[in-house]
Amino acid sequence: MARRVAVVVFPGTNCELDVARAISSLGAHTESVFHLEDSLGSAEAVIIPGGFAHGDYLRTGALAQFSPIMESVSAFAAAGGPVLGICNGFQILTETGLLPGALQKNAGLKFLCASVGLSVASNRSVLTRTTTVGDQLQIPINHFEGNYICDRETLAQMKANDQIVLRYTDNPNGSLDDIAGVSNEAGNVVGLMPHPERASAEILGSVDGLVLLESFLAPL
């Protein structure tokens, strides 16, 4: 199991403590890495948590790619290290080019905070490798720009490579092909709009998020 998890913090990030709390409950150790740093240290896995990095200025996730730490994140990903982007983290990974596609405004043009049903679409990724395709999960979303989109070729390619990781069972935001999460071709970089850390305790109503986080921390 990955014992040391780097949680990248930009100005405007706000889910870093929640992610750390959920990860710690699984016995791993998290370290907050500020965006100005240029090294991930000895981290064995990297999470880019949700929030509003750089205030979502210009475009969600667009400015974060220029933060010094992102070079290390890209190198870490290229070396096959597990990288997870949650919500704004997902947006950052698409803007950085580590994941295909983009996230646009929800079809309803409103921010949406609600628990949604998810279905595991691929268990080839680091986030789902301990699950079975078709597994149903209940996990909250919390976003304005979660409407996944990509061009037709990319979609076909992603399908061919089994890169669609999670789908909504009742599409809340207009995402193409009900996509809630995708991976890169190798499966070591994953982004998803739902917040697994928000489904990490019985008292919060669901522990389904832990299924994903456990998979993410499992030995490669």
Partner: protein, 747 residues
């Protein structure tokens, strides 16, 4: 010298101006009079309400900070404290709903972290006119978007609130905002400037011409005759700036680098600097040229009184300055030394560098006033008058008319559905789904329940929060209405097993120069005071919003309260309101035929007048004690407070939540209509597994609370024998579509 027209345009009366002249021993200059006019305004000085607010009970052994500071603070054990505040942003939201609501959120968050607390929860009690008005629909969408846009982005979850519609708010909506923060007791900090030679460091946004005058009296003023420099008086919020400011300030306090912190609110830097110095009896010298400015050629009045958002003033020692600047730079927060603490007791503003008492410096002095004087505004005991028709209003009981229309034996199914379709009673999730209500992983019960329940990190305990106001009851009788508001909030909190520990109030009233409004205010303060004393809840802070009127018509008196309760053991969520099959439905409390101000009488049938329900404080105390006990011991499976729409609506909401019906028998010593729709206070519905029924009934009898087993849950219809019979799915559809339909949005 200032001419009469100038100071009057700023809202100062002749007497107030004379008082300033006397305080200074000379005439004030333009900058000085600008500061006084804001700090002595109703908004900042509480000059009309002060004499009344003194009657509120404010002490308890666990109260660390009472009214008067940025926020009230209570000790909740484990070396933890909770900071709470509530405020209004009514007028800005009426003019520009998005920014008005957004900056309301921003302002109250700063009040919380300026005490050293991390803001962890927001709640928004909202009141609008009827949704059949297009502008009201625009206001609702804008206000909700503003709260969502700012609150979500700044990273503080919005975990509850109220959504009330009444035509008295058509032109003057009420946008109140409540914020709660948590802090280690050791981090508690005050807005104090201590130590001669210590530095005043301005943090956050550059200062612009936006928001000069803000919510206060400057907005219409003639400081600058050039129309080119006019700006909207509603400030513009930047949640990203605020988020960085929160992190930087809390880190400064954690590192022990700030001796005092103060939010820049009304009257901007001038007020913040003078107040911090007045708090210690020290003095403060400020060089306004050191203030970062958004645009060139701002004059000292603009710089010193601008209400640009997202700014804080920190008092630091010269030795720590470099560390402070480095820490702020890391968070991309501007930090500039703008002044220093002196021992003069005076607040002086200079143009350019200064050292203190050099005559050359004094020639650059543009303002020089006693620090304390800004807080020594007038106090008024304004005339009060009970409205002439008050006795008549109270006697206009809607009961006879309603009972004649709906004698026993009438099918009330349609009436129940009509109630569920009113936007005040209908499902408000269209609003709160736009709010991040889950951040920080504390939200055990989110918006939509009787009370919001948060778990407290690293403890076994939890908090229960509820914001409530009963304006229509207050209009009929402000004393009783204010009591009923307190009782409802306390009852909601009790329904989650919590002991109430503190209350904050936001007193929204009309024009205090109307004697009827002052009478309403005084009566409401008395009612609130009596209810809080009876329940042992200290009032630890509040806000008064007067002048909620349009075209001479005052709003209904609307005291809104937020009650904070502590749950000792929160191993599992408290019982929700959902029916599950095979349980007994037990009503707790006494129903009378009380329809005055009820949703059924007023909203459905348009019948005004009558007395509000009786607010029996002993009955409330007994009921709250009982429900706390039953919930803590988890002998009840579902709990729901009875409020708007009476038992009918409470039962329907429980059925909708569980997707399960019930078959019940109405009480026989009341008319059916009363049993269904009366809004008698201090009532709760619980469901009980059969094996626990006698235990619950015995506990109720011991607690002196009337309890009645009305029947059992199950099936797909909500049936009250001979009264109504509706499919739960129909109840649900009506209730869920009420707000979206009224707003005209697709769901």
């Amino acid at each position: 010298m200032i001419d009469k027209a100038t100071y009057q345009a700023l809202g100062l009366t002749d007497d107030e101006y004379e008082a300033i002249v006397e305080l200074l021993g000379r005439h004030p200059n333009e900058l000085e009079v600008a500061m006084y006019s804001v700090m002595w305004s109703e908004h900042c000085s509480y000059k009309s309400s002060k004499v009344h607010l003194r009657r509120l009970p404010t002490t308890a052994p666990w109260v660390l900070v009472g009214p008067g500071e940025g926020a009230g603070v209570i000790d909740i054990g484990d070396d933890l404290a909770i900071a709470v505040r509530i405020e209004s942003h009514n007028h800005p939201s009426a003019i520009e709903p998005y920014q008005g609501a957004a900056t309301g959120v921003g302002g109250i968050i700063r009040d919380i972290f300026s005490m050293g607390a991390r803001p962890i929860a927001l709640m928004d009690p909202l009141r609008f006119g009827s949704l059949d008005d297009a502008r009201t629909r625009y206001l609702v969408e804008g206000v909700v978007a503003g709260i969502s846009g700012y609150g979500n982005s700044v990273g503080v979850p919005t975990v509850g609130g109220e959504l009330v519609f009444d035509d008295c708010y058509r032109e003057n909506p009420l946008v109140n905002v409540f914020c709660l923060g948590i802090l280690p007791k050791s981090r508690l900090v005050f807005a104090r400037a201590e130590g001669v030679g210590n530095l005043a460091v301005l943090l956050g946004s550059a200062t612009g011409r936006d928001g000069i005058g803000g919510a206060s009296v400057l907005a219409s003023a003639g400081f600058d005759d050039s129309s080119a420099t006019k700006r909207p008086s509603v400030q513009v919020g930047d949640p990203f700036e605020e988020k960085r400011l929160i992190e930087a300030c809390l880190e400064l306090l954690d590192e022990g680098l700030a001796l005092g912190v103060q939010d820049l609110g009304a009257a901007g830097l001038s007020c913040a600097a003078a107040e911090t110095a007045a708090a210690t009896g020290a003095g403060m010298d400020v060089d306004f040229t050191q203030v970062p400015q958004r645009e060139p050629n701002m004059n000292p009045i603009e710089i010193m009184t601008s209400e640009s958002q997202e700014r804080m003033l920190a008092i630091v020692t010269p030795e720590n300055l470099d560390r402070v600047l480095a820490l702020c730079a890391r968070w991309e927060v501007r930090a500039n030394v703008v002044g220093h603490v002196t021992d003069t007791g005076r607040f002086r503003i200079f143009s350019g560098s200064f050292t203190g008492n050099d005559p050359a410096d004094m020639s650059r002095c543009v303002a020089d006033i006693p620090c304390a004087s800004l807080g020594q505004g007038p106090v008024y005991e304004r005339p009060q008058a009970r409205p002439l028709d008050h006795a008549e209003v109270l006697l206009a009981d809607p009961a006879p008319e309603l009972l004649a229309m709906f004698p026993d034996g009438t099918d009330l199914s349609g009436e129940l559905l009509r109630l569920l379709s009113t936007p005040t009673i209908g499902d408000s999730s269209w609003v709160w789904r736009q709010y991040d209500h889950q951040l920080f992983l504390n939200t055990v019960v989110g918006p939509g329940g009787d009370a919001t329940v948060l778990r407290l990190p690293d403890t076994e305990r939890g908090l229960a929060l509820s914001v409530d106001g009963k304006a229509r009851f207050c209009r009929l009788d402000p004393n009783t209405g204010a009591r009923l508001g307190v009782l409802e909030a306390a009852r909601n909190v009790a329904c989650s097993g919590a002991e109430p520990r503190a209350l904050v109030n936001c007193l929204n009233f009309g024009n205090p120069e109307h004697p009827e409004v002052m009478w309403q205010f005084s009566q409401a303060v008395d009612g609130m005071s009596e209810a809080c004393s009876a329940l042992g809840i200290p009032v630890i802070g509040g806000n008064v919003s007067f002048y909620n009127e349009s075209r001479g018509a005052d709003i209904d008196p609307t005291p809104v309260v937020g009650v904070i309760g502590v749950i000792d053991s929160l191993a599992a969520p408290p019982p929700g309101m959902a029916f599950s099959p095979g349980e007994h439905v037990v009503t707790l409390g006494t129903t009378l035929g009380e329809f005055g101000g009820s949703e059924w009488a007023y909203v459905v049938h348009g019948i005004d007048g009558g007395s509000p329900p009786v607010a029996d404080l002993d009955a409330a105390r007994y009921l709250h004690g009982l429900i706390r006990d039953l919930v803590s011991r988890r002998v009840v499976s579902a709990v729901h407070d009875v409020s708007d729409g009476g038992y009918g609506v409470a039962l329907a909401e429980m059925a909708i939540a569980g997707g399960v019906g019930a078959s019940l028998i109405p009480e026989d010593d009341q008319s059916h209509a009363a049993w269904c729709f009366s809004e008698s206070a201090s009532r709760i519905v619980v469901t009980v597994p059969p094996e626990k029924l006698s235990e619950v009934l015995t506990a109720a009898a011991d607690a002196k609370v009337a309890a009645r087993d009305c029947g059992t849950t199950g099936g797909t219809r909500l049936i009250v024998n001979g009264v109504f019979d509706v499919a739960v799915s129909d109840l649900a559809t009506t209730w869920r579509s009420a707000v979206p339909l009224a707003l005209g949005v697709n769901e």
